[in-house]
């Protein structure tokens, strides 16, 4: 039987987080009353002219550099001509054969394999408005989004020597997640797939293993989460294989992912190449990029996720998995980094941050950079555990309390008298009381049912309101029960 191998291309659109739109001064913001953030330029009113937003070009160049692209010394905008009611000029100012960034890559690791996914181009364009369909065969258009700076990042298939392409649904998801993470680190976009500030359109084809020539590709739209990307690509790969195995032929088309039914369905055929009549935008002048400017931008690129993960592993001796979790967002990574720096035990800090901290962040929906906790909180809590002032279980209670109130752990411990009891006399009394009250269990234990030790520890801890030193409890119980 023929074995098939997939070829997956990714076209990702990212809305840049600039103050104003790409070619006018209107504010960039999600939502808002329809058509309240518009002007003659982004409404495409007759006579209006575009002016390039320098900040958007900066953010995009920074991104292209972070994606290991080369930057054009001169780049121009083109007009992409097509008619659509959400496109106020009926052309989109975009880039064509002279993109700002080209020939880069994104490093991913999926399924234990490390890959450098080749990027063909990074270019700049303007977003369109939004069609709002209403009942009764009526449509309205909201142009708030019209003219928002949009960056397009396209992978290269086949990749050049030394680089790779995406070949599975898992890699597709990993590529997107890594890309999103890089963009978050760069602070160029809020990259929210649900809100559409990051949109991805994979194109997918399969071919008999070893065949050089690509199969017919389909494009998937409406993938609004990483999960949807994974499932959509997976579904499409299987669907195409089924079609081919049945002796059919894959049709070149755009397919829409239906999240509720977990299937892709045909949207429109793309057998005929759309004619965009690209030509250089005469209302704008060429952009010239000199080396100093590029170097300056380069120097503003922060430590990127992969570098950060590697540093965490090396400097703090963290396992890969923990380092990945901690480097997920720049805010979390910075938070951990600061805690680790003030602590003697970065690994223990990592456990607390990936454990209790993230649990509480998720449970309360608090953004990491809005937490009341500071590195000082975490480090002094660890100190209290180290010194034996509190035990680990009590520490969790203290952690939650300081997360909620922002009080320092020592104050919480004092206020609620949570100091660990290490006084053998007091613990011994509790142990004696428990043994006396549970003679049946004592007998069973002595008859060899040793797992009951847990039960006795629990009873003693309850007796001491959780404050007893667990080590001492264990030791005393063992000697008394043995006797």
């Amino acid at each position: 039987m023929v074995e098939y191998e997939p070829v997956i291309g990714m076209e990702v659109h990212v809305e840049l987080q600039t103050q104003s739109k790409m070619f006018c001064g209107c504010k960039v913001e999600f939502g808002g009353e329809p058509n309240t953030r518009c002007c003659p330029v982004c409404l495409g009113l007759p006579g209006s002219l575009p002016v390039v937003n320098k900040r958007a070009i900066e953010l995009m160049t920074k991104t292209a550099l972070a994606l290991n692209c080369s930057i054009a010394s001169q780049s121009i905008f083109h007009r992409k001509n097509y008619y659509y009611p959400d496109l106020p000029k009926n052309y989109q100012i975009s880039q064509y054969d002279n993109p700002l960034g080209s020939n880069g890559y994104v490093e991913i690791s999926a399924g234990g394999r490390h890959k450098k996914i080749a990027i063909r181009r990074v270019h700049m364009e303007e977003d369109a408005g939004k069609l709002l369909h209403q009942e009764g065969n009526k449509s309205h258009v909201d142009y708030n989004r019209s003219g928002v700076p949009l960056m397009e990042i396209v992978t290269m298939n086949p990749p050049p020597p030394g680089l790779d392409q995406i070949e599975s649904a898992e890699e597709a998801r990993e590529y997107l997640q890594r890309l999103r993470q890089i963009l978050l680190y760069l602070g160029v976009s809020d990259v929210k797939m649900e809100e559409g500030s990051m949109r991805c359109e994979p194109n997918i084809s399969i071919k008999p293993k070893g065949q050089v020539e690509f199969g017919t590709k389909t494009e998937i739209k409406n993938l609004n989460s990483f999960r949807a990307v994974y499932m959509g690509v997976e579904y499409e790969l299987k669907r195409q294989e089924k079609v081919l195995r049945a002796g059919g032929r894959v049709v070149q088309e755009t397919r829409r992912w239906d999240d509720s039914r977990s299937v892709t369905a045909s949207m429109r055929s793309k057998e005929v190449e759309q004619e965009y009549r690209y030509f250089p935008e005469p209302d704008l002048v060429p952009m010239i990029f000199n080396d100093e400017w590029i170097d300056e931008l380069h120097s503003t690129i922060p430590e990127l996720p992969l570098e950060k993960i590697n540093r965490f592993i090396e400097s703090y001796s963290l396992p890969q998995a923990d380092a990945e979790v901690l480097a997920d967002t720049p805010e979390l990574a910075d938070f951990y980094d600061n805690c680790a720096k003030c602590s003697k035990d970065p690994k223990a800090v990592a456990n607390w941050v990936t454990g209790e901290f993230l649990r509480l962040i998720n449970a309360t929906g608090t953004p990491v950079d809005a937490t009341k906790l500071t590195p000082e909180h975490i480090c002094s809590l660890l100190d209290l555990i180290d010194k034996g002032t509190i035990n680990r279980n009590i520490a969790k209670t203290v952690f939650e309390e300081m997360f909620n109130s922002g009080k320092l752990p020592a104050d919480i411990v004092k206020e609620k008298s949570l100091e660990q009891v290490t006084d053998t006399g007091a613990i011994e009394a509790a142990v004696d009381k428990v043994i006396a009250a549970h003679s049946a269990e004592v007998d069973r234990f002595r008859a060899g049912e040793e797992k009951l030790i847990g039960f006795f520890v629990g009873q003693v801890m309850r007796e001491s309101k959780g404050k007893a030193n667990p080590g001492v409890v264990n030791k005393l119980l063992k000697s008394k029960l043995a006797g």
Partner: protein, 487 residues
């Protein structure tokens, strides 16, 4: 004095207003009355704004009464070609597709004139979307040449040129994509300048061909031309193609001196089809300048002959994209009986655009299509670069080039309607200037059968000063600018 104020030039009116010999309101009223008296025959205006004019004039009089320091155009009535946005005032491009369109913003030049306290009397007729050379392509009506009402005023700024010639305004703004200021100026016997590309902001000028369009003045004499240039020139942050260069005081160039001036006379601009009387008048003008100390030499510009075909690729290509936005979705005409959005687009454009506009959109769409782009658009751009280089070379040798503005004087209304190619030949001398992006001026230099002949002077990029100096000198030694049509 007060009964024929409309006959005066802008600078003469300015002097009267400033010295309080006439109030701005009297001046405005004089023009309003003049429009009432003659526009029925000339039909220069698509829209007149008499109330607005009087209101603006009152404000000028108040300012003068308060001792405010005002510029030289304060209280001077001007007209604006109807392809420039005027907030709250109809702006139609003489197209049915923009019928009833009132913009929400002013073109940059309109704002600049407002800052100068110019009084605006109306919006002038043009060939629809500035496409044409006779104003016969207006979607509304034809404008008549004040020198002979059976003749065209030229185009596309025919309304502006006719309004200046008929004393329906003291000056007007036009736009020039392939000769649309200079050719009507020539036909109507007034002064018209196309500035260097980028000298004047295009923001708010409804685009025909973005890389060629340029706004400029149509005036009764060269002094007024310099005054209006002072008012409208300069970098605009809203127009990325406007040039960030210092603007000289153009009135400083109003000097009667052409000693040592090197004039080139490229023979390609006197090609077949040039009326011998036009050529004669132009040669006489050159002789006059040489008698005043200039030197001239015949020269050749081989690629100038390609100007017309190059223009008829680039301009339609850009226009096919620029005019795509007129689709009935947001403003202007929307066809009533459409069942879905595509048919709304199609029917709106079918009903809204005239034949000439449709033809150019189709040519441009074709020229940009995959498979034709390289053969047409790209090749045209290459020839354009050659042409530009040839002009640069010519200006290493010459200070100015002098040619006829148009090969003929004004033709009859309807005369060339069935011969679109002959009509396009009317722009053969003016088009290369737009392709090269250089400035040029047209001023009257003679008559044939009572119709004015235009002299075109070109200079290198950003050298409007030399144009003004040469034109001013010529004007000082001739009387053409003083003659008026009898209406």
């Amino acid at each position: 004095m007060a009964d024929r104020l409309y006959e005066l030039t802008a600078h003469e009116l300015s002097d009267l207003i400033k010295s309080k010999q006439a109030s701005a309101v009297e001046v405005a009223q004089s023009f309003v009355d003049r429009i009432d008296a003659v526009d029925e025959r000339v039909k220069s205006y698509v829209t007149t704004t008499p109330e607005l004019a009087i209101e603006q004039a009152k404000a000028v009089d108040d300012a003068i009464a308060h001792g405010e320091e005002l510029g030289p155009l304060a209280g001077v009535p001007g007209a604006i070609k109807d392809n420039m946005n005027t907030r709250g005032v109809l702006t139609t491009c003489s197209s049915k597709i923009l019928y009833n369109y009132k913009p929400i913003y002013n073109a940059a030049v309109v704002d600049r004139l407002a800052t100068e306290r110019v009084v605006t009397v109306g919006k002038t007729n043009l060939d629809e979307f500035a496409m044409g050379s006779s104003t016969e392509n207006s979607g509304f009506f034809v404008t008549h040449n004040p020198w002979n009402l059976d003749k065209v005023p030229g185009g596309s700024s025919g309304g502006s040129a006719a309004a200046v010639a008929a004393d329906e305004c003291a000056f007007a703004l036009g736009s020039d994509t392939g000769g649309s200021i200079r050719q009507p100026a020539s036909f109507c016997g007034v002064v018209g300048m196309k500035p260097t590309y980028g000298r004047v902001s295009r923001y708010g000028l409804i685009a025909f061909a973005s890389s060629l369009d340029q706004i400029g003045p149509l005036t009764k004499d060269v002094t007024d031309c310099a005054l209006v240039m002072n008012a409208i020139s300069g970098k605009d942050p809203c127009d990325a193609t406007s040039l960030d260069v210092p603007v000289p005081d153009f009135t400083k160039s109003l000097v009667d001196n052409v000693k040592g001036l090197k004039i080139g006379v490229p023979k390609e601009f006197f090609a077949q089809g040039t009326d011998p009387d036009v050529e004669k008048a132009v040669r006489e003008a050159i002789e006059l300048l040489t008698s005043l100390g200039a030197e001239y030499k015949d020269t050749s510009m081989r690629s100038a002959g390609y100007g017309l075909p190059v223009y008829y690729i680039i301009a339609p290509a850009e226009c096919s994209s620029n005019l795509a936005r007129f689709d009935g979705v947001r403003y202007g005409l929307r066809s009533k009986d459409s069942s879905d959005v595509i048919s709304m687009f199609n029917k709106t454009r079918e009903e809204g655009f005239g034949a000439e506009v449709k033809q150019r959109i189709m040519i441009g769409t074709y020229a940009l299509s995959a498979g034709y782009y390289d053969a047409y658009y790209l090749k045209a751009q290459k020839v354009r670069t050659l042409l530009r280089g040839e002009f640069e070379k010519a200006f290493e040798e010459f200070d100015v080039l002098i040619t006829p503005t148009s090969p003929t004087v004004a033709f009859g209304i309807g005369e060339l309607a069935d011969d679109p190619f002959a009509m396009k030949l009317a722009d053969v001398c003016t088009i290369p200037v737009n392709l090269a992006g250089i400035p040029a001026i047209s001023l009257p230099c003679g008559y044939k059968n009572g119709l004015p002949i235009g002299l075109q002077i070109m200079a290198k990029g950003l050298d409007e000063e030399t144009l003004l100096r040469v034109a001013y000198t010529f004007e000082q030694h001739t009387d053409y600018h003083k003659n008026k049509p009898k209406l």
